[in-house]
């Protein structure tokens, strides 16, 4: 099978903040139309990883390669807009590229906030602003959507609708999606691949593989079963094609991150679950 050219690749990426290592030895790749989710405890470097992949943080070692001219739709975790700047939602959607009224209206409707055009962005609620940011990202026709905790501030139905939307966007446009998330169960069901991060890649692979990995369970303090019954059910339902696979055959390398990093505990995620 011909592998599609990756959109973003990181090799042995390390990032430090003021001398303190935040990420070390991370290998990463994302292919077109792939949905990859980064999970990990607070302070595990999730946001740093995606910021480094976009190029907002310099790599201390290793390197990040983005496809030339890659169009990124980025939705940051927080965005403070200075109240001294008057800006309607409609005007905001036309930055940096101007878009037509119909496209702007369609994007807002799509992300669940129709008719907000005339509102000042500094007057939006957190959830509304998050959706406007997503609408703006979609209007750029991105090859990859990069979302940092996109569902914070959304209630449960809102979160579910959000992941459904992401899946639709991917299906329609072929855009890849890279997300950081805390909604473990839902996210996992919606992702092709999950990367569990804690300063380094603890484990990576399909949701099924990662959820059974001891590193993952240790990090999130989950028993065997219990909370995961929900996830397993949803997952089996949505991703039948994964049945019986220990990992995603399209990306064998990235399910084996420790092969290159013997300093980390060598148990690989899929050992528990080899097909």
């Amino acid at each position: 099978m011909q592998l599609p050219k990756p959109l973003i690749t990181a090799e042995n990426l390390s990032v430090s903040h003021g001398g303190a290592p935040v990420l070390s030895g991370v290998d990463f790749t994302i292919a077109p139309a792939e949905i990859v989710t980064v999970v990990g405890p607070n302070g595990s470097g999730k946001s740093t990883l995606i910021r480094a992949l976009i190029g907002l943080e310099p790599a201390a070692t290793g390197q990040v390669t983005r496809q030339p001219g890659l169009v990124i739709g980025y939705v940051p975790q927080k965005l403070h807009i200075d109240a001294s700047l008057p800006m309607t939602v409609r005007r905001f959607l036309s930055l940096p590229k101007r878009v037509g009224n119909a496209d702007a209206a369609a994007a807002l409707a799509r992300t669940g906030v129709p008719g907000l055009e005339g509102r000042q962005i500094t007057r939006l609620s957190g959830g509304q602003f998050q959706r406007v940011l997503l609408a703006r990202a979609l209007l750029a026709h991105p090859q990859i959507l990069i979302l940092d905790e996109p569902t914070q501030g959304l209630d449960q139905p809102g979160t579910a609708a959000f992941y459904k939307l992401i899946d639709e966007v991917r299906a329609e446009t072929g855009a890849a999606v890279l997300m950081v998330s805390h909604d473990l169960h839902v996210v996992m069901s919606a992702s092709d691949r999950v990367i569990c991060l804690n300063g380094h890649v603890c484990c990576a692979g399909t949701p099924r593989v990662v959820s059974n990995a001891p590193e993952y369970r240790a990090l999130f303090g989950l028993g065997t079963g219990g909370a995961f019954a929900l996830y397993q059910h949803v997952h089996d339902h949505d991703h039948d094609h994964d049945e019986g696979h220990g990992h995603d055959p399209a990306h064998p390398h990235h399910a084996h991150p420790h092969a290159e990093h013997p300093s980390h505990p060598p148990h690989d995620c899929e050992h528990d679950h080899a097909g």
């Binding site: 965005l79 200075d82 940096p96 590229k97």
Partner: protein, 261 residues
């Protein structure tokens, strides 16, 4: 009609507001108020050096203002607290400028003209320079408008969209240096920062979009110029400070009126 000094003054002042309206709006949005001060105070050093080396005051102030602007732009983003860096640079530049000026014979008497400007003394040549500089600034801002706005909202979001926020910042910094250089004769180094910020703050009260705020700032500035010149004639007060005082009165009035957005 250019023979009338008051007409020349009004034209010079309103021409300047073409640049200070949109540029001042960016200064407000980006919280660069102190930056304007630093560049303007550096201009006094430029005046002193111009006299020392016998070159045009416009060239001298532009060179020093540019140097200051680029230094500040470089230092920002290096982990220094911005207000500290600017405070150090702004006041050192003013102090060195005043010291340098005192060493040059003949400049001592004229110094207040450079600190506070003398809009009633602008020549046709000054008028041409002010309009030329203001139009140049306006064209630069119009050319980069979308990118400037996008980077002003959030530099990281702009960078992720493929823009180069550092380039946009550079455009602003250069525009600021040019504006300070052409305006020093009109309102002077101490008041140019006020002319950048006060009309923009007034316009903020009524604007719902960045473009409306930039345009409103130019209008508020132009009205301040005309009212200030009138007050200066009527009450025999210094023209530059009268203009800024009128801008401040307009801002105060705008606070009383209901805010639109």
């Amino acid at each position: 009609m250019l023979d009338d000094f008051l007409t020349r003054a009004a034209l010079a002042g309103t021409g300047l507001t073409l640049a200070t309206g949109p540029l001042g709006s960016f200064v407000v949005w980006r919280r660069m108020a102190y930056f304007g001060d630093a560049t303007a105070h550096a201009a006094i050093l430029g005046v002193a050096l111009s006299f020392g080396f016998g070159i045009s005051v416009y060239v001298g102030t532009l060179a020093v203002a540019l140097g200051m602007a680029l230094t500040v732009a470089q230092l920002s983003g290096r982990g220094h607290a911005m207000d500290t860096v600017l405070g150090v640079l702004a006041h050192s530049a003013l102090a060195f400028g005043l010291v340098a000026a005192s060493l040059i014979s003949g400049l001592r008497v004229d110094l207040s003209a450079w600190l506070f400007g003398d809009i009633l003394a602008v020549s046709r040549m000054d008028l041409a320079i002010v309009w030329g500089g203001a139009v140049l600034v306006l064209l630069a801002l119009a050319w980069r408008w979308q990118g400037l706005l996008a980077s002003t909202i959030n530099e990281e979001l702009a960078q992720a969209s493929g823009l180069n926020p550092r380039l946009e910042r550079l455009v602003l910094v250069l525009a600021l240096a040019l504006t300070v250089a052409v305006s020093i004769k009109i309102v002077g180094a101490l008041l140019i920062a006020a002319l950048l910020i006060v009309p923009a703050a007034t316009a903020r009260q009524f604007a719902r979009s960045p473009e409306a705020m930039a345009l409103g700032a130019t209008c508020a500035g132009a009205v301040s110029v005309v009212l200030g010149l009138w007050a200066s004639m009527r009450f025999d007060t210094p023209a530059g400070p009268s203009i800024v005082a009128m801008a401040a009165v307009m801002f105060t009035v705008s606070l009383i009126l209901p805010r639109r957005a």
